[in-house]
Amino acid sequence: MIRPVRGLAVLAAFIMLATVLLMARAASPADDTVAITRLINHMKQYDGRTVTIRGEAIGDVMVRGTDAWITVNDDEYSRNSIEEGGELVGMSNAGIGIWLSSTDAEKIRICGGYKNKGDIVAVTGTFNRACKEHGGDTDIHATSLEVVKEGYPFERSFPWGKLIALLALVGMAGGLWWYRWYVKKAGLREAHREY
């Protein structure tokens, strides 16, 4: 008679512990890194919640007084750049604007672009589906930013194949130009002789 009661008590304690752990986890979602596409596709679900994203700082740091805007992309190209042999995965970039203190923004040394791989940053902050402070922009107001990996300039190999194609085209255009000039000159000579 005693054993089942003890078993139930253990089960109840286990369920309570699991519930507490799950609640604690829900209360601090900042532990989780959320993909930007997930945020954009489930705006309502994440609106007003604290989230952490991790990706490449892109473009420019635009300082506005004591704060600044940056853009962070976490798409496939931010992980495997095309310039470094990454595949084209059939999608555009996935990025989001981050509103943060200019002090945090100063931590970013290199922003991604044609010549550079940008710093990889981890940003924690509040996701806004339609930010009241910024005219309805979808953004994240950051509370912290950490540079996980520093950016660097891309190294590109020289495209010898393209150079050969270019030389062939230059030769072809030059040859055609010369032939056109030659025919024109020959025609003029002929006309002159007839005259």
Partner: protein, 505 residues
């Protein structure tokens, strides 16, 4: 009876197309200079390949199609339609070589989208492209807005009496000045003046918003080109949302509204006939349709409950609506926000605005305000006729630079073009449905492509079915040239196959 085109016809057409392609090669010199200044050497090679390919093609046509014959209407129509297609294939060379496109079809899609000032794109990883390629993307939409034929006319067709035929075949039947070459140059003078003024405003706004001077300069020029041409391209993947700036939004809004006005109207205002702005049927039509669609948008957004304040309504709602109405495509929201945040009613408000489009003989697409005005007036005339005494003669007129009396031929022609737009919107929507997209999504992107707008719900992507890509290329091209040139090209194809041979014409 259909006659087979003669060898001489083909020579005239070949020579015309060759000159258009030379024009494309000459325009590539500008992104080449930008790539050199930015020390983007690989992009330099891409543009050199593109330029020499254009020059080689032009030389081949100059030698094989040598003729002194002038263009007829038929030639003008074919040069315009086939010239745009050929320009797409040659212009796509630097795109393809950049390594940001999965296929040549995708590169051609972006080219046609640029030339036709649509603004949809399949380019992948836009945030890592070179300044040279970004300049090319924006420049081709700026050049396409004025009309690539206009460019060729300005520099390469000077003095030919057939020039008007090719000019009108590009969807611009109105002349600013009696001489078509001077008209083409006047269009360029207007556009270049606005380029300088608009870029200065944008540059100041970008500096004010914290953008570094060097990139700020390039972004200001690109943003101007995208907005003025009603193309809607922007240098970053987030489009206007990248800047988080009310000032940039205001300046671009003003630019694309002005850009969507008829060049004839611009010229009237420039020549001190300012009252034309208030009297012109296109401006009135635009004001009314903007008010009506804004009302629909307001109902939709209030139901959605996401953009609730005046500021949000204006910056997220009205901005994107007017961007759609002027067939620009600059956006301050994510693509999927049109579905998720705007909701069904607001989305259809934007679809209607896109379908109506901008002004005739402007950089924009769609039905055009002039046609909406003509049809509305015609309908009003019919209603007045019904309630008037039988002996009364009811005639209606519209004011577009001068008073134009409506007659049956004008209304019929307007109806034909309008019906053609409705058909391409409808077929695009049905194709999207057949591929399993939501009806609102399928019609939104179909109307956006057909009206040369460029807003998207996310359907337009490199992963979309190839048939849809081809269809969108076709409708962007057909919509921009307003169908007549396209009908002529198909007519010529039929004539080549089934036409009867004739002697010398």
């Amino acid at each position: 009876m259909i006659f087979k085109p003669t060898r001489e016809d083909l020579k005239v057409i070949g020579q015309g197309i060759g000159r258009v392609i030379l024009g494309v090669g000459l325009i590539m010199l500008i992104p080449l200079v930008v790539a050199v200044v930015s020390t983007e050497w690989l992009a330099v090679i891409d543009f050199l390949i593109g330029i020499f390919a254009c020059v080689a093609f032009w030389l081949v046509t100059e030698m094989t199609c040598k003729t002194n014959r002038d263009l007829t209407w038929f030639h003008g129509l074919i040069v315009a339609s086939a010239g745009w297609l050929t320009a797409m294939f040659f212009g796509a060379i630097p795109h393809m070589l950049s390594g940001h496109f999965k296929s040549y079809l995708d590169a051609c899609f972006d080219l046609m989208s640029g030339y036709t000032t649509t603004g949809l794109f399949l380019l992948q990883d836009l945030d890592h492209v070179s300044h040279g390629l970004n300049m090319w993307r924006h420049l081709l939409t700026y050049a396409g807005g004025q009309g690539i034929i206009v460019i060729a006319l300005t520099f390469l067709f000077a003095g030919t009496a057939g020039a008007f035929k090719i000019y009108a075949s590009e969807g611009k039947e109105e002349k600013l000045l009696p001489n078509v070459i001077r008209t083409a140059r006047a269009i360029w003078m207007i556009s270049l003046t606005y380029l300088v003024v608009g870029s200065v405003f944008l540059f100041v706004a970008l500096l004010f918003e914290g953008m570094p001077a060097g990139r700020g300069f390039l972004h200001s020029v690109w943003l101007f080109m995208g907005a003025w041409s009603t193309g809607g391209f922007a240098p970053q993947s987030l489009n206007l949302l990248y800047y988080h700036s009310l000032w940039i939004e205001i300046v671009t809004l003003v630019i694309f509204v002005i850009g969507s006005f008829n060049f004839v109207l611009h010229y009237s205002v420039w020549t001190r006939r300012r009252t034309e702005i208030l009297k012109n049927i296109e401006i009135r039509s635009f004001a009314i349709t903007t008010a009506v669609t804004s009302f629909v948008l307001a109902i939709g957004l209030s139901k959605g409950g996401v953009y609730t304040t005046i500021s949000e309504f204006l910056r997220k709602g009205v901005y994107n609506l007017i961007s759609g109405h002027t067939t620009t495509g600059n956006a301050t929201v994510y693509s999927n926000s049109f579905v998720g945040e705007f909701g069904f009613i607001a989305m259809w408000g934007i679809i209607i605005a896109m379908a109506i489009g901008a002004s005739a003989a402007s950089t924009g697409g769609g039905f055009k305000g002039l046609r909406v005005g003509i049809l509305t007036k015609s309908l009003w005339g019919d209603i007045k006729g019904l309630v008037s005494p039988e002996s009364a003669v009811v005639r209606e007129k519209v004011h577009h630079v001068r008073d134009i009396w409506l007659d049956e031929a004008l209304v019929k022609g307007t109806m034909l073009i309008l019906l053609s737009y409705v058909i391409i919107y409808f077929i695009g929507g049905i194709l999207g449905l057949m591929y399993g997209y939501e009806p609102s999504v399928a019609f939104f992107d179909a109307v956006s492509a057909g009206s040369n707008t460029g807003l998207s719900t996310g359907l337009t992507s490199p992963l979309m079915p190839a048939l849809l890509k081809v269809w969108y290329i076709f409708v962007m091209w057909a919509g921009r040239l307003e169908f007549l040139s396209i009908f002529a090209l198909f007519g010529m194809a039929v004539a080549v196959v089934k036409g009867k041979r004739v002697g010398r014409r």
